[in-house]
């Protein structure tokens, strides 16, 4: 039995984690919450070295140092735009670690002494840990656009999936009956295959929901490891993440007007095949930066709809200057933040906060959407799917049912776009062909600078 004071220390760490999650739910306390969580994790690590009989101290410390270096480097090097894939990777390695821990536990069992329930928990940890690992790697590849972001489905997919589930069940039973390394490795391999299959049919825009789901999965494996290792802290922390992560997954899906089941398996019903990948040649109206500058300068009310394209072009700083200039001219400007603008819920807020856009100019969808009717200009910068009317008019479109910003209700709509390529969800946007819509082609940063220069010229 672990010493009493060590148990108290673990309890303190568990409380830290609860406070951390609580703190992260409110903007005012979020940063402090995260730091408290980190303190709890540090405390737990110190305790484990003090009370447990740890051999191979040097190699372990070296391994921790290596992991810390990689983690810190990754966390500091990453562009804010690439945040979602980094979180996916961090989650994946956590799941992998949990699976490895369970495999090692298995090899250290004495013959025939382990209760069946413990073996089941072991099988669960190995399986779900591998699912989380492989699934996270695929989400990373999708978000990094190293593979197609469109849903991948092939004939026979459901059969393969069914076979995968059967294999998982079979090797789990095998592992419980004959606890051997062979079954453990087999189970890990099957889990990895299932993880890949789970994420393949998910369209690019929905991938963040899957990250959150896999995050919850990893939490559960950590909880299971806690049971196996008789460590209460792991049980509590893992369960917290498992349940909070499940709820968060549902909240995210709701924000996109989707159900989790629909996100995971919607593509199998064939709905998403509607996506157009061809570039349309229908006529559109385009304008020069000078025209748009005049339009903006003499407007009363401008609403900006920022999207991922803005962040990719790193144009958010120029955009803020533009908005400042307009505000000085007495134009009322707000940013309309769609819940899933960017690549993840809340991602756009992070990106604009990075450009030091005042928090009060960022309006959430419910608040700003009715105001488009009064707006003279809706300036859509690098966004597409979040203003696509197809979400309301075209059942069968992958984004059908997602709440959208009604930019089309503004008197004029200006789209800053790099090309006529469709958005992340891969569907064409009818709004581009509306008579009130003007297109401003070019790289967002480049065009934004030209626009800013034209506007300055008008102001002088």
């Amino acid at each position: 039995m672990t010493l009493a004071w060590a148990q108290l220390g673990y309890l303190a760490a568990a409380v830290c984690f609860i406070i951390a999650l609580k703190g992260l739910s409110s903007p005012r306390t979020a940063r402090r919450g995260n730091l408290i969580g980190a303190a709890g994790a540090l405390l737990a690590c110190v305790i484990v070295f003090l009370v447990s009989d740890i051999h191979h101290l040097l190699p372990i410390l070296a391994a921790i140092a290596a992991g810390t270096a990689i983690g810190v480097l990754g966390a500091y090097r990453v562009q804010m735009t690439q945040m979602p894939q980094l979180v996916a990777l961090f989650n994946g390695v956590g799941g992998g670690a949990a699976a490895i821990v369970a495999i090692i536990e298995l090899t250290e069992l004495g013959p025939g002494t382990t209760p069946v329930f413990d073996l089941i928990v072991m099988a669960f940890t190995i399986l779900v840990g591998s699912v989380s690992f492989a699934g996270s790697v695929v989400t990373f590849l999708k978000l990094q656009e190293l593979m197609t972001t469109r849903p991948v489905v092939f004939p026979g997919y459901p059969i393969l999936y069914g076979l995968g589930l059967l294999a998982a069940f079979g090797s789990s039973v095998g592992l419980v009956l004959i606890p051997s390394l062979i079954f453990a490795v087999l189970l890990a391999a099957v889990g990895a295959g299932l993880g890949v299959l789970l994420v393949l049919p998910v369209g690019g825009a929905d991938v963040p929901i899957v990250i959150s789901l896999l995050n919850a999965f990893t939490g559960l494996t950590v909880a299971a490891s806690g049971y196996l290792l008789e460590n209460i802290l792991l049980l509590v922390a893992g369960t917290l993440v498992g349940s909070a992560g499940t709820l968060l997954t549902r909240l995210m899906a709701n924000a996109m007007g989707r159900s989790v089941i629909n996100v995971l398996f919607g593509a199998l019903k064939g709905g998403s095949t509607l996506g157009a990948i061809t570039v349309s040649d229908r006529p559109v109206k385009s304008a020069s930066p000078a025209d748009v500058a005049i339009l903006l300068a003499y407007a009363q009310r401008v609403i900006i709809v920022p999207g991922y394209g803005l962040a990719v072009a790193q144009a958010q700083h120029t955009l803020r200057q533009l908005v400042d200039l307009l505000s000085e001219r007495g134009v009322q400007v707000d940013y309309a933040i769609h819940p899933v603008a960017g690549r993840m819920p809340g991602h756009m807020n992070v990106l604009l906060a990075e450009a030091q856009v005042p928090y009060e100019q960022l309006k959430e969808m419910d608040e700003i959407d009715p105001e488009f009717k009064q707006a003279d200009v809706a300036l859509v910068v690098g966004a597409n799917d979040v203003v696509n009317p197809a979400a309301e008019t075209t059942p069968g479109a992958p984004i059908y049912g997602m709440p959208i910003l009604h930019a089309n209700q503004a008197r004029q709509v200006v789209f800053m776009k790099r090309s006529m390529r469709p958005g992340f969800a891969g569907i064409e946007n009818e709004l581009l062909y509306e008579p009130t819509t003007t297109l401003l082609f070019g790289d967002a940063k480049d065009t934004m600078s030209k626009l800013l220069a034209e506007l300055k010229a008008l102001t002088v």
Binding site: F17, A20, L21, K22, L24, S25, P27, R31, N34, G37, C45, V48, F49, I54, L57, P59, I60, I64, A66, G67, G71, A75, Y76, M80, M83, V87, F90, V93, G94, G96, A97, I100, V101, I104, E105, I211, N215, T218, A223, E230, N231, L233, L235, V236, A237, G238, L240, V241, G242, S243, A244, G245, L247, L248, G346, V350, A353, Q356, V357, Y359
Partner: protein
């Protein structure tokens, strides 16, 4: 394993409710940092990795255990650091706003 399973089950069930309760009211603005923060918390599997690596009896097991330690530390440390980086950006503009408000007052 010797501890009464009922106790483990109790802790498990209560933790589920705590997890749901603490994040039940979170604005979509904070979904990303919250996910990242929760992600960092399950990095505490590092403790499990240290335990199995520290009691390894053979070299292959030790190596495997060390791999788990590296992975878990990436998860935990990277997760907390990247969450903090995101959250700094949330707090920074507020200070900038206060500063400009003060400037207005001085005028």
């Amino acid at each position: 394993m010797n501890t009464d399973p009922i106790i483990w089950l109790t802790i498990f069930v209560l933790s589920i409710f705590v997890g749901v309760e603490v994040i039940s009211k979170v604005s979509s603005t904070l979904h990303t940092p919250l996910m990242s923060g929760a992600n960092a918390i399950h990095g505490v599997i590092l403790i499990g990795a240290i335990l199995v690596a520290g009691t390894a009896q053979s070299v292959p097991i030790l190596v495997l255990g060390l791999v788990a330690v590296v992975l878990a530390s990436i998860n935990m440390v990277g997760g907390f650091v990247v969450t903090d980086r995101m959250l700094i950006m949330f707090s920074r503009p507020k200070r900038a706003v206060e500063k400009s408000a003060r400037r207005e007052l001085e005028k």
